[in-house]
Amino acid sequence: MAGVQVANVSRSFGAHRALDNVSIDFADGGFYALLGPSGSGKTTLLRQIAGFDFPDTGRIAIGGESVERVPVEKRRIGMVFQNYALFPNMSVADNVAFGLSVRGEPKASIAAEVQRALDLVQLGKLGGRRPHQLSGGQRQRVALARAIVTKPRVLLLDEPLGALDKALRVDMQIELKRIQREIGITTIFVTHDQEEALTMSDRIGILRDGRLVQEGPPEEIYDRPQSEFAATFLGDANIFRGDATGNGIRLPDGTTIAAASGPSLAAGARASCAVRPERIQISTGAAKPDADNANTLKGQVSKRIFAGNNSTYFVDRDGQTLKVIVQNTGAERLAEGQPVVLSWSPDSTVLIAAG
């Protein structure tokens, strides 16, 4: 087992910079999610670590050892592909055995290890089947068993759950996490799905146009995004744009919004504030907002979407539509067209320098 260090890695395809000076430290035994929109370079980064492709500049080390000259098959990595990539000409057991048998391990010990790996992914009885006789989730688990049976130092997963339906996806998330904890392997997990990234990983790296936008534990990125992109890509956010005041921003109409966290910016600099929809309190104005809700705005409900356990209100305010999510506590619901007061605490507000 080992950590992975990516230092100043760049990779271009023709004129297109798929990776632009990316540096990330993947800690030993951690579960790391790489998140980003399509084309942001997630797969490219994973391929550099795996050794299918090589950086133009920069260094990659696995377990402290530089892998510049190490071919894929010597890197001791396990990889799970989005399309599973099971060998169709082999049985499930032979697929799992492949990595051990190319190493020339004795037949008897291979059989035992294959069985253990298949048991780990709860497919102990399906060793004799062919891949095409399995369901999507079962194929996924075979791919996982095949990747971990060789005891790799790092597990690389490229959108491994992308092809599964929602319910199966959640099952597999739990299973994957369980297995990862059980064998304690450094795991780098590429995903489109922000919820998946939030629930599964110890740390998240957000990529955009080949650059690492922000990196850290899920709570930190969610609570303290450093850019409008990070704020809106991971979770939902209301963004206000204005001029920095010292402890917040002033909107063009003169309203000030106070923010408790964020960089210190020179007064007058372009800046924005981000507030999560579930942190905003919405009321008709009759009830008094919470004492520490120093930020208040007036608006008008333009739309309400009921989603069972919560409701989303869209509130029009000075040409901007704000989003507020309210838990369904059985309290009175607000009608569309109703004037409302929005209030929230500076603690729930993040100041962001204009990008």
Partner: protein, 289 residues
């Protein structure tokens, strides 16, 4: 319910009939009729032409077994078929691999064109151009002597290697095409998965790529082996006196000796032998994969 189903399925064929009819008609006219005429001939003493006397006989088939020459030639032809097929695999498979997995875009199209060019050139032209290349004082001889400091004599004309070269050149496109199609269908991520599991390129080739391209190899081999065993043009022109094979003997019966019944009988024996070989070999190859 059950009745309706039966009717439905029978009705399912009917609309297809007008579509299938031309194909069946063509098969009947172009293949079945001449072939059955040949079967008929092969049991005759003489051709029923110009009022000649004829009767049914098994002598034509018996001739094959009574004269050891035919068996010797058949074995030589089978060996020729095997050798040409092997060379086609050795040359065609790597070419197909490069086409399918290494080259991209324009260069792939260009090389593809070069590979199938022999297909589009006339067979005789192809063979006679090889004759010009291979004979003493020919293109190969002259070119090598121009480059090498010492004198060597290259005269491959009228030899077994010349026959092999000519046949391989004619038939290798089949192998390239069938293998290209199966290789093309192999997902690159399978190769990467193999590498990530610790297999070298060579191990991935032997354990993943070749087994998965077996259908293409088998199809190519069948497409090549069968016509090569019965070939006569290349052996005759490039092989000269050494170029006597089963196929040339059959050809002689039709165009020189004018003994169609014997020629037909020899062809059907060949057909039977080839079918048996294919029936035995292809499941074996498939299992090996």
């Amino acid at each position: 319910m059950a009745d309706q189903h039966a009717i439905g399925s029978r009705r399912g064929l009917k609309p297809a009939l007008p579509l299938l009819l031309p194909a069946y008609l063509w098969l009947t006219v172009a293949i079945f009729l001449p072939l059955s005429a040949m079967v008929f001939f092969s049991f005759m003493t003489d051709l029923p032409l110009a009022g000649r006397e004829w009767a049914f006989t098994l002598d034509n088939y018996a001739a094959f077994f009574s004269q050891s020459l035919y068996l010797t030639l058949l074995l030589a032809s089978l060996r020729l078929g095997l050798e040409v097929t092997l060379w086609c695999v050795v040359i065609g498979y790597p070419a197909a691999y490069v086409l399918a997995k290494v080259l991209k875009g324009r260069s792939r199209e260009a090389i593809f064109l070069l590979v199938i060019l022999p297909f589009w050139s006339n067979g005789l032209v192809r063979i006679f151009s090889w004759a010009m290349v291979l004979r003493e004082g020919g293109i190969l001889d002259t070119a090598l002597n121009a480059v090498l400091p010492f004198k060597i004599n290259i005269d491959l004309m009228y030899s077994y290697p010349a026959v092999i070269i000519g046949l391989v050149h004619s038939y290798v496109p089949y192998m390239v095409l069938t293998c290209y199609l199966t290789l093309q269908a192999i997902d690159d991520s399978l190769i990467e998965a193999g590498r990530s599991l610790g297999a070298s390129r060579r191990q991935v080739l032997w354990r993943v790529i070749i087994p998965l391209s077996m259908p293409g190899l088998i199809a190519g081999a069948a497409l090549i082996f069968v016509p090569v065993v019965g070939s006569f043009m290349e052996p005759r022109i490039l092989g000269g006196r050494t170029g006597t094979f089963y196929g040339t003997v059959i050809e002689d019966q039709f165009v020189a000796v004018f003994n169609w019944p014997l020629g037909a009988a020899l062809s059907f024996i060949l057909l039977a032998v080839v079918l048996v070989i294919l029936a035995v070999a292809s499941p074996m190859l498939k299992r090996a994969a």
